[in-house]
């Protein structure tokens, strides 16, 4: 029954989404209050039916209803309950439904919040409705999660074991919240163009969505990188892989958007540019979805795919980007340009931020898509090596990081460079001390390491200075705390990246029980290899002693798991972290009576994800500040009316 109910819910949601799109766009006209009310109700109804469909699919996964094709081909009764639930989005059909669910939640939130003018909200709901229609058609025609299977199998064919992991379980929902949050931002931007929003109110109305999207993308990328680190067994945290780049590009543009929208919101500066960024950020989310779903590029993360779906997403992509840019070209010139500003001002700092972030995105974009274009053009098959990304991306980010501390210290409109430099002197001092200490103590590549750590400390120091002076003058707002955290997190991540790349120690050998290998000042002795098993896997577990200064400091137990139902094996690494350094061991294949063991010592590796978490915290601070300000304003507005 649940399959038919789910199908019905999706069809009803489609009908309501059509109403939402039509009424929403009509509602951007001055005297169409009725259409606006219809759009709001349709949005809420749409959200309810999508939630119902998602609930029904989740139920089918929990009770292992193998009469549903999607459940039969992606789940099994032997899976632990938690992975039955996360299995809902651990496959294409279910993940598209999760996409819709997030879209529905954001649309309902926009309908409830009624931020900005009624016309603006109505247009945003209309655009969200259009996207919902496109993606619901996509789901119903190419990726229906409720298709029946007759006869049902006795046992499902299971889920990719790599996805049976708590880190990866939360990774897709985070990325989707990010992508869809950017769709809400896009919807407000498009609505502003349709409704002719002269005062750029849209930037303020869309701010919570922008922030939610950015927080989710930051966490999603951090989780994904952490997962790749401990699950793939290669000891790396970022591979410049197309699938990773697909998430990084929207993040870069969303970061630029968050910054430029600040100026737009304040006095209308950069107003057309901010609109363009909103369109760009969502377009890159769609391109990301296309790259991941169509499998046109070879990737370490790519999974089985279907070209028909790729084409469908490409059509949606073309319509959304083309339509939005056409709208932009038609309406944007009618918007008045914003206030002017001096050469030394916060606006200038934001301008540099935007130019650099956009350039960074462009280099990633070119490196990721060049092989695709070349293949289509001349049939030559190539791939772009990670050194390309490191060489082009790094200098842009270095320039960005040098400039980061200036932004929050510069006043709007016109600033005094000397005053800013004076204020930042302690940060510069910290950077200088950092350079000397790191260069003196570094085991290798001393000058380079010293410079990178100086840069990281410059950013972190400036954040500390900011926190200190703003607290003292009682000027610490949620927004300034957000900047402090986000910028400091960037510095922390940089330290982690530098430590891991510059000073990593690596060892690889075939060990028999009793043998040991040495890595980065430690000895690792293989004590035993024994059989191990779980509810849906069998495998082997090695026990290794970690020896420092002739004393055993820890026992590490990496595993190799075979999932017979899915016919796959997975490496389960063992990581011992001291908080500032990781000892990382992966168990390889059996060679005669020995086993290949790969071990790394990754100094400062935990800082990479720790920094990501601090950045996300910054986003959360800004988000909560906005929500509080908004409810405060609403209460203040309500009081005199009584």
């Amino acid at each position: 029954m649940s399959g038919e109910l789910g199908q019905l819910s999706l069809c009803l949601a489609l009908a309501l989404a059509i109403v939402m799109a039509g009424a929403g766009i009509v509602g951007t006209r001055e005297h169409a209050a009725r259409a606006r009310r219809v759009a709001t109700s349709a949005t809420l109804g749409f959200a309810v039916f999508i939630a119902l469909a998602f609930g029904l699919l989740t139920y089918a996964f929990i009770v292992s209803d193998f009469t549903i094709y999607d459940v039969a081909s992606n789940s099994s009764t032997m899976k632990p309950l938690i992975y039955k639930i996360t299995g809902v989005w651990g496959n294409h059909e279910g993940s598209m439904l999760l996409w819709m669910l997030v879209l529905a939640i954001f649309s309902a939130a926009a309908a409830f919040a009624q931020a900005g003018s009624a016309r603006l909200t109505s247009g945003a709901l209309g655009v969200q409705g259009l996207l919902a229609v496109a993606f619901l058609l996509f789901i119903l025609f190419t990726s229906n999660p409720f298709l029946r299977l007759d006869p049902p199998p006795f046992e499902g064919s299971g889920m990719n074991p790599l996805l049976q992991d708590p880190g990866l379980a939360m990774h897709p929902p985070m990325l989707y919240i990010g992508y869809v949050g950017l769709s809400a931002t896009f919807a407000y931007a498009a609505s502003a163009l349709i409704a002719g929003d002269r005062e750029a109110h849209w930037a303020r109305a869309a701010r919570p969505f922008m922030l939610a999207a950015w927080i989710a993308l930051t966490l999603g990328i951090t989780l994904g990188s952490w997962w790749a680190y401990y699950d793939l067994g290669w000891g790396g945290f970022w591979f410049w892989d197309p699938v990773e780049n697909a998430a990084l590009m929207p993040w870069l543009v969303a970061t630029a958007l968050l910054h430029s929208a600040l100026a737009t919101e304040r006095n209308g500066a950069f107003r057309t540019w901010t609109l363009l960024l909103a369109i760009g950020a969502f377009s890159l989310s769609l391109i990301g979805t296309f790259l991941v779903r169509s499998g046109v590029l070879t990737s370490v993360h790519s999974f089985a795919v279907d070209p028909e779906r790729g084409e469908f997403i490409l059509i949606i992509l073309g319509l959304a980007i083309g339509g939005a840019l056409a709208l932009f070209a038609w309406r944007a010139p009618k918007l008045e340009s914003g206030a002017t500003f001096g050469t030394v001002s916060r606006e200038s700092a934001l301008l540099f931020n935007n130019v650099l972030l956009t350039a960074a995105m462009a280099t990633v974009f070119i490196g990721t898509l060049y092989p695709l274009f070349l293949d289509a053009w001349s049939g030559t098959r190539i791939s772009v090596g990670p050194p390309y990304f490191a060489i082009t991306f790094a200098p842009i980010f270095v320039a960005l990081l040098i400039l980061v501390p200036f932004g929050p210290r510069l006043p709007w409109s016109q600033g005094d460079l000397k005053a800013v430099l004076r204020a930042l002197a302690p940060a510069a001092g910290l950077a200088a001390v950092g350079f000397i200490v790191v260069a003196a103590l570094a085991p290798s590549r001393a000058i380079l390491a010293g410079l990178i750590f100086a840069l990281a400390l410059w950013v972190i120091g400036a954040s500390a200075v900011d926190l200190w002076t703003k607290r003292k003058s009682r000027g610490l707002t949620a927004a300034s705390l957000a900047a402090v955290l986000a910028h400091a997190g960037l510095g922390v991540t940089l330290m982690g990246v530098a430590g891991t790349t510059l000073w990593r120690a690596e060892a690889l050998d075939v060990l028999r029980p009793g043998d040991s290998l040495s890595v980065g000042g430690y000895q690792l002795r293989l004590d035993d290899v024994e059989d191990a098993s779980g509810s849906n896997w069998r495998g082997v577990r090695a026990t290794l002693s970690l020896i420092a200064n002739r004393q055993t400091v820890a026992t590490l137990a990496p595993e190799k798991r075979e999932f017979p139902n899915e016919d796959q094996s997975v490496t389960d690494t063992a990581i011992r972290t001291t908080g500032y350094s990781d000892i990382y061991v992966a168990l390889g294949d059996q060679r005669g009576s020995g086993w290949t063991i790969r071990a790394y010592v990754n100094p400062l590796a935990p800082f990479i994800w720790f920094g990501g978490a601090i950045m996300a915290l910054g986003g959360i601070a800004a988000f909560l500040g906005r929500i509080r300000a908004r409810t405060g304003a609403r209460v203040a507005a309500a009081v005199p009316a009584e």
Binding site: N160, I382, I391, Q568, S569
Partner: protein, 154 residues
């Protein structure tokens, strides 16, 4: 020139400068970091110079995998017509098996052995790298249904 015009000019100049510098950097780096994909037959026909980095893809020839000394492993990548010997030191991907598709990155030694620095096989038993699928289709060894099945993966 008023402030507004000056600002626009500065903005345009910044964009042009960044775009120009970026484009130059991107193009030079891209040129030196492109890895071409060759099949074993391509290698035999084109005489790729030793030391030039590229990727080779095909199937691991049955019965060709030899272990040792140490963590070294040798095997042959074949496209059904030609084979190329590969050597690699390291932990093999979980799904590295004889008869399965692989992609190896590395370069040829003077002796004509492909010295691989990275081996990509897939996490998913149903998956084949698109390049390998195309290669097999070209050489007529592709069996429908043995590759990507819809609905698997994330």
């Amino acid at each position: 020139m008023n402030a507004k015009k000056r600002r626009r000019l500065a903005f345009a100049a910044a964009i042009v400068l960044a775009a120009g510098g970026g484009a130059a950097l991107v193009l030079t780096t891209l040129r030196s970091n492109v890895l071409y994909f060759y099949s074993p037959s391509d290698i035999a026909a084109q005489h790729v110079a030793p030391g030039v980095a590229f990727r080779v893809g095909g199937l691991v020839e049955k019965g060709s995998v030899k272990h040792g000394p140490g963590a070294e492993i040798r095997f042959v990548v074949t496209d059904g017509k030609k084979g190329v010997p590969v050597k690699y030191s390291g932990v093999l991907p979980d799904l590295f098996r004889e008869g399965q598709g692989v992609i190896a990155s590395g370069s040829l030694t003077q002796a004509g052995v492909f010295d691989a620095s990275e081996i990509l096989a897939k996490h998913d038993a149903k998956y084949m790298p698109p390049e390998v699928v195309e290669e097999l289709k070209r050489t007529g060894r592709w069996k429908e249904g043995e590759g990507a099945a819809p609905g698997a993966g994330s």
